[in-house]
Symmetry: C2
Subunit: 346 residues, 2 copies
DNA sequence: CTGAAAGCGCTAACAA
DNA sequence: TTGTTAGCGCTTTCAG
């Protein structure tokens, strides 16, 4: 690499350069490049040749600036943490759908933090994305609402909006939780603990409500000391599980309402040698859940389904769909693997 | 949402609108918005007020089009599969570093496919990204080389370029593999199998070479029938493992050179009830590897470290660093958890 | 300290 | 079928 190393002076060739070389007007080049009608077969070839020799590549940002629709062919995706398997799978599903339309994805992690989410949203807006798919941070959604009210096509995923006029896609949090608890009760469990994530998260609330419904349906009484909420991260989940096991009348079954919590609880059960004696059902599947001993029974969300649906909705809105906002619900399914099928001690 | 639903007619306010309202020139608005010197305190306040009342937001694409540096404050990331935990963690690390500079990330999955990788690269180029971080698809790298030679700042991660003049960041594939095999040999294993990913991948080749070095160092002879390559996906890994176990003289230890392969092999060992009798060391850590029985001994890459380094390099190049290209190597570490510490049968 | 004119690369709207 | 003029929203250059 002698001389022309680090991209020093070279300038990207423009339509003008191509036009000059092909001895036509810029507009003609534009026509050929976008294969629009009015393309003289002869001239078109000349233009294409010129473009090739110069290494011309269209500038989408410039074209989008001038075009009538002003589309950037780019959408924004704002999830909590792109390194979380759930978020990653969701991103992938959205990306796949986007690619079909030649759309690229600007991705960011909001860390479940308002301020950060707002800043990222502004960053996306500054780049004039055509729409956004968002996992709303817990608490208020002022920034999301403001953005939406400016007209930005928006789909919330995993958690619904607290404001109107916006599409969203969620799973059957409440019903699946209720079914899980009902299932444990049917095995004879009467002391079923609940371990949940931050209360500010809608999904946590729903899953807790489902837990209560499950108890109510099966005639069980709520024991407050069996409920632990605000367990963000595996560490807190472990502490809570240990506390539960230390009770005078410990639970014989656990319902863990998020995948990191499930893992934390499982870890503690194993440490106490109780993994085959205390039943466990978790919300959210996770890799290798089937390889543990016992296999971990979980409520599995249809993550690709969620992502696909969210993408479809946002692209429909971008394409001008003005039908009333929808709340799509993608069903989750219980996957029995052993841990949820443990009966209580006689 | 009565009337102003779907963002129907409203136009984003521009600098001109702000200028008109504040009764100043567009240039003055530009100065205030970018807080450049020459901002009259009085006038600045008027401008800011006008901007707020109109809900003005700068258009980065327009500004970047005109500005001298032509930066889009956006980089591209092209990995194999964004839903793979390794890729996801890498993306997150790059994203974190990018955010510090107000840079956003356009992310895509290349599926380890040349054509797709080339198309995505062109898509990124059309949006005039400032640089790219790429996990090169196996085989030739023509598209990457072409892009690089146009001057696009580029860093390859996980796999090095087959062409010159380009930075890259990889891990200690060969050395760590050699150490893993050496470790198994030290326990007394003489029949150590190798299960590897696609041969076209540089990492596969390196890890295989490390395996050979390990054998050579410890005076073991290579048994060809213990080597299985081109195992892409867990299914192929399972078939290969089953085949190995069916040999007249089966291996007493396995070295699995990629995380999906490790999981597949582990699955088959369990199915045969051999997980405590056949030793196993895998390359790449994976979630819950410590919770399996036995815990899975792995070579763990420093994924955040790889991502951080890659991001640092690409931003340095974007900022004009013209020092010679570097190949940064981030060390991996062996994490003993049990499966790699199983001795051969007496 | 402020502004007018020009133009980034491209496309819309109209001619020729 | 082709070209000309204007201008997307912003920054540059240069003049007040």
């Amino acid at each position: 690499m002698p001389d022309r190393g680090e991209g020093g002076g070279r300038r990207e060739p423009t339509m003008r350069d191509v036009a000059a070389l092909a001895k036509v007007s810029v507009k003609t080049v534009s026509r050929v490049v976008n294969d629009l009608p009015g393309a003289g077969t002869e001239v078109a070839d000349r233009v294409r040749a010129a473009a090739r020799t110069l290494g011309y590549r269209p500038d989408l940002t410039a074209s989008s600036l001038r075009r009538a629709d002003r589309r950037s062919a780019t959408i924004g995706v704002l999830f909590e943490d792109l390194s979380n398997p759930f978020d990653a799978a969701l991103l992938r599903a959205v990306e796949d759908r986007a690619r079909q339309g030649g759309v690229l994805v600007l991705a960011g992690s909001s860390e479940d933090d308002h301020t950060l989410q707002r800043e990222l949203l502004l960053s996306l807006a500054a780049r004039r994305v055509d729409g956004v798919v968002v996992m709303a941070a817990g608490g208020h959604q002022d920034a999301l609402q403001a953005e939406r009210e400016r007209g930005t096509p928006m789909v919330l995923v995993d958690r619904p909006p607290t404001f109107g006029g916006t599409d969203c896609v969620t799973t059957t949090n409440r019903d699946s939780s209720r079914d899980a608890v009902t299932r444990l009760a049917a095995l004879g469990h009467r002391d079923i603990a609940f371990l949940g994530d931050r209360r500010t998260l809608w999904t946590s609330q729903e899953r807790y409500t489902g837990y209560l419904e499950g108890l109510a349906r099966t005639g069980l009484t709520l024991r407050e000391e069996l409920v632990h909420a605000d367990l963000h991260g595996a560490d807190l989940a472990e502490t809570a599980t240990a506390a539960l096991l230390g009770l005078g009348r410990p639970p014989t079954a656990l319902f863990t309402a998020q995948n990191l919590i499930t893992v934390g609880a499982m870890r503690v059960l194993r440490a106490h040698g109780l993994q085959h004696r205390v039943a466990l059902i978790g919300f959210d599947d996770f890799p290798l859940a089937d390889m543990l001993d016992p296999g971990v029974t979980v409520v599995r969300q249809d993550v690709p389904g969620l992502g696909r649906k969210a993408a479809e909705l946002v692209f429909a809105r971008i394409d001008g769909d003005t039908s009333p906002p929808v709340h799509a619900v993608v069903p989750a399914a219980l996957v029995p693997r052993g841990s949820g099928e443990i009966a209580p001690p006689a």
